[in-house]
């Protein structure tokens, strides 16, 4: 299986604080790679570097395509999603609450629709070419809504959905940009066991059917151990362990990091 993402010597400093210290790891295509670690270990900072919200102090991040690789450092801000096709979700859900579920999924397809609408010109003239493209976008939204079972609520405001559904909606909204790499920041936070199980199913589906690599930050170990192909453990910005879920469970370093060391 080929590499999708390689992070090399990533360092991020905020003033005197080193949030990530010389971190290197790889994530493979069609795999779920989990980043775990105690609070403040620098997990979300890794995500913010990968998705262009922070500019890392040092180090490189490469996204591998079939025959070439692109450096994520070159892309900042919205270009990460637009050009590099790296999508993310947020620890605290960031939907567009006053817009409908369907509209949320259409905003995710903004760039294609913008071109199709001739930067609004064709759209204002109501040309058929635009209407067809818009219908395709609606179909794609419906496809994803069918998968998470929210089609019947497509016209309701996203903010009115139950919490668990909002989580799922945020994930499929990210999938609507057809990412190569999907970064999920604590998708199971606040979910009950049943919802967590549904989330696992959704993530497995994305992994196997959509040829997308998933990078996952999670505290819920039932999710991490249940679906991860690969686990990276961080503590104080450093990688302390890397391996399969089973190896991680039995690792002395990891247990020490979480539970402390016996004096």
């Amino acid at each position: 299986m080929r590499n999708l993402l390689s992070v090399e010597n990533l360092t991020m400093k905020f003033g005197g604080l080193t949030a990530i210290d010389d971190l290197s790891f790889d994530a493979k295509n069609n795999q779920i790679t989990s980043i775990i670690g105690p609070n403040g270990a620098g997990k979300t900072t890794v995500f913010n570097c990968l998705t262009g919200f922070y500019k890392p102090t040092n180090g490189q991040m490469f996204l591998h395509k079939e025959d070439s690789k692109i450096s994520l450092r070159k892309y900042t801000d919205f270009k990460i999603a637009y050009a590099a096709k790296v999508a993310r979700t947020f620890q605290n859900i960031r939907l567009f609450p006053a817009m409908s579920v369907l509209e949320n999924l259409l905003v995710a397809q903004h760039n294609e629709l913008m071109v199709a609408s001739g930067y609004s010109l064709f759209g204002l003239l109501n040309l058929k070419s635009y209407r067809d493209k818009e219908q395709l976008a609606v179909d794609k939204a419906k496809y994803w809504l069918d998968i998470i079972g929210l089609t019947h609520r497509a016209d309701d405001n996203a903010g009115d959905l139950p919490y668990g559904d909002q989580r799922k909606l945020e994930i499929v909204r990210a999938m609507c940009i057809e990412p190569r790499l999907l970064c999920l920041d604590e998708p199971a936070a606040g979910l009950n066991p049943k919802e967590s199980a549904e989330l696992n199913k959704l993530l497995r589906f994305i992994k196997t059917e959509k040829q997308t690599g998933i990078l996952l930050i999670e505290h819920d170990m039932s999710v991490v151990m249940g679906i991860s192909d690969h686990v990276v453990v961080l503590n104080y910005g450093k990688k302390i362990f890397e391996g399969t879920a089973d190896q991680t469970k039995n690792s002395k370093e990891v247990i020490e990091a979480y539970l402390g060391v016996d004096e």
Binding site: R88, A98, V107, A108, L124, V138, K142
Partner: protein
């Protein structure tokens, strides 16, 4: 309602009376009058007691009312009347309103004064619709919208007086100039949101006004620009005695000369301009760029994570909003035939923002209702002279109390998957 509650609310209203006494006592109670040499204080306590009494009574009634929440009260009756107006019904309202607007100049009671007020209301409706793109859809609080109105008015006036081009050429040019200024303002404020954005846009509005006052060579400073050409009816001027070789409107149509012709023409002109603004906004809201505006209002970070370019999105909102402000400015210039910086003060911006906010952010029909309400009220109470601003303020307070999200706060999705469920 229990006896304890009544005593409690009575105490509360007495306290209100105390505050009212402290306020009204010195302000209203002591009046200075000049008799012979020097000033003397004439007390007028009876007015103070009347005002304080009103405050106590009003507070007591409000208290009684809020204690009986479950029962149908006078206030809740009013509010429920208002909440019946949803966007669905708004459609019928819109059609009726447009029909009424079209026949309005020919109604029997319509006179010159009514026409002038109607033109003014329509101008504010157009400005409100223009600003609605920026504030209501894109969520960028712009307190300097009058700057674009001014840019439009001055570009129209300068182009028309210098080159003598017709209204229909100057109008788009004025719009383009205003849009350009919109982008000019947009660039430095891209990173700002909320309060900070409001302060900078407020400053921008003042900068434009001060430039207009001081750039004497071009704008003629505080004296303003006079002799701006009046619009003509497709080449037919509204003049009693046309120049050599010209036919004027009343001669062409074989009518008795009347100044009302021009007023009616101006009325239809602003009606059409406003309806174009409305049509454009309704259309563009359903396009990707419109949805991106609203998404940006909801959550900018989420927009970035989905690859929406916030810079372009904000700039288009500023530019398009400014363009409509510019159109309205051109209309203002041609209607008045005279403009000076005095017409473009901060209070204008404040009124336009008030119209958008009171109407319900992003609601097109709400803007219409709020304009009629606010401008209409200030006109209705013109006889009260300086006190009419109290009516204006009171109207705003009332709307905010009963409809905190604006008159029409319902937002309808731009696209439906299941169609209209009824």
């Amino acid at each position: 309602m229990e006896k304890k509650d009544i005593i409690q609310s009575f105490k509360d209203s007495l306290f209100t009376g105390l505050i009212a006494l402290a306020l009204f006592g010195p302000i209203v109670g002591l009046r200075t009058a000049s008799k012979g040499e020097g000033l003397f204080i004439t007390p007028q306590w009876e007015v103070v007691f009347l005002l304080v009494g009103l405050c106590i009574l009003g507070r007591f009634l409000i208290n009684l009312n809020s204690a009986r929440k479950t029962e149908i009260t006078f206030f809740s009756k009013i509010t429920s009347k208002f909440s019946v107006i949803t966007e669905d019904k708004a459609k019928h309202f819109a059609i009726t309103a447009i029909l009424f607007a079209v026949v309005f100049p020919f109604l029997p009671f319509t006179d010159r004064y009514f026409m002038d007020v109607a033109i003014m209301i329509l101008t504010y409706i157009m400005l409100g619709w223009g600003l609605n793109i920026v504030v209501g859809l894109a969520g960028l609080l712009d307190l300097g919208y009058v700057a674009f109105y001014a840019v439009g008015a001055y570009s129209y006036a300068l182009i028309a007086t210098t080159f003598g081009w017709s209204f229909w050429i100057c109008l788009p040019l004025a719009g383009v100039f205003a849009a350009f200024f919109g982008i000019l303002l947009g660039f430095p404020v891209l990173r700002l949101r909320g309060d900070y954005l409001a302060i900078v846009t407020l400053g921008f509005g003042e900068i434009i006004r001060i430039i207009l006052i001081n750039w004497y060579e071009v704008t003629n400073g505080p004296d303003g620009i006079t002799g701006i050409p009046r619009p003509s009816f497709f080449g037919l001027p509204f003049k009693r005695s046309p120049d050599e070789g010209e036919t004027s409107f009343h001669l062409f149509f074989n009518l008795e000369y009347s100044t009302m012709h021009r007023i009616i023409f101006l009325y239809y002109l602003i009606l059409v301009l406003a309806l174009i603004t409305n049509y454009f906004t309704l259309k563009i809201r359903k396009l990707p760029v419109g949805r991106a505006w609203e998404a940006l209002r909801e959550d900018e970070i989420a927009c970035k994570s989905l690859g929406v370019n916030p810079t372009n999105t904000k700039l288009t909102a500023f530019a398009i909003g400014a363009m409509f402000g510019g159109f309205a400015g051109s209309f203002f210039a041609t209607r008045q035939a005279f403009i000076s910086p005095e017409s473009f003060t901060f209070i204008e911006s404040a009124i336009i923002v008030a119209i958008v906010v009171l109407g319900g952010m992003g609601s097109q029909t709400g803007v219409v209702l709020a304009s009629i309400f606010l401008i209409g009220i200030t006109e209705m109470f013109r006889d009260l002279e300086q006190y009419r601003m109290i009516a204006f303020g009171g109207a705003m307070v009332l709307i905010m109390v009963f409809k905190p999200k604006g008159i029409l706060a319902n937002r309808k999705p731009t696209i439906l998957m299941h169609g209209d469920k009824k």
